[in-house]
Symmetry: C2
Subunit: 137 residues, 2 copies
DNA sequence: CTAATTCCTCTAGTGGCTAGAGGTTCAAGG
DNA sequence: CCTTGAACCTCTAGCCACTAGAGGAATTAG
């Protein structure tokens, strides 16, 4: 049996966040002591680790919930889990691509007018002028 | 003179968002018609484009505001603008790196147990098991 | 002059937490 | 057994950057 603080330490999820997940229905309501404090079992620890990991991967809570409901899934439900993973991968690749385009632009801006400080800074100009960008975003 | 809708069309910033920026002090309060409707000039359009662009680049509104206050800056203030750009570039590169690590993991998960559907799906297992990850995140 | 469109203000909701107030329970040391 | 201090409890409010909707007024095209 773990206290909420122990659960927090073992998963890296902050205490208020654990309560927040319970509120949202992602974690089941745990047992309570006579003094109304939460006590968790191994299953809760595993479940929270799952949530933590999928959140780290960038999945929104709604998807985490969907995956959790597929525990011990079979047949079509398995396909659904794959589907979620595939969609997330797609989203992630899009995000990476977009950020990389922004990176090259920001790199250009950050080095603008280094050395020669004219009376109007090129950095400020560059932030304002989308026309200068190499690609769309 | 532009209506708020025209400003929206020309910048791609939604109408409620424009009012939101005004509320936050990022845009000055524009003139009003006799009937209390906002009318914007060229300067407002430029300013909103600047905000839009810097937001697209991922800068938080606080940084956008800081840059806006540096309009026509000189000396140390110019360095401050550079500093903001440099810090953002650094942040962006970190974000990209992290997402790329996640990408490889998610790719692994998405293809897990493709073909052979055992009684416990590897996708669900993979989402739960951080130990399987190649690197930290 | 009418009808459609756009505008106004205001409130509340989103996601995913995080912080704080004000009070209670627990575990260890004396 | 009693005290102390850490950890716990609930509840409310705040964060960021918007977004949506209600209910009503102004503008514009025909």
């Amino acid at each position: 049996m773990y206290t909420i603080g122990e659960l927090s330490r073992r998963t890296g999820v902050k205490v208020p966040t654990i309560r927040f997940y319970e509120d949202k229905g992602l974690l089941p309501q745990p047992e309570r002591t006579a003094g109304n404090q939460r006590r968790y079992d191994q299953a809760a620890l595993d479940r929270l680790r799952f949530i933590r990991h999928t959140r780290d991967l960038g999945l929104p809570l709604a998807d985490v919930e969907a995956l959790l409901s597929l525990e011990g899934a079979q047949g079509d439900d398995l396909n659904r889990a794959h589907e979620i993973a595939r969609r997330q991968l797609h989203d992630l690749r899009e995000r990476i691509g977009k950020l990389q385009r922004l990176e090259s632009e920001l790199a250009r801006i950050a080095t603008a007018c280094d050395g020669q400080h004219d009376h109007v800074c090129a950095v400020l100009h560059a932030f304002g002028a989308h026309d200068d960008c190499s690609g769309p975003h």
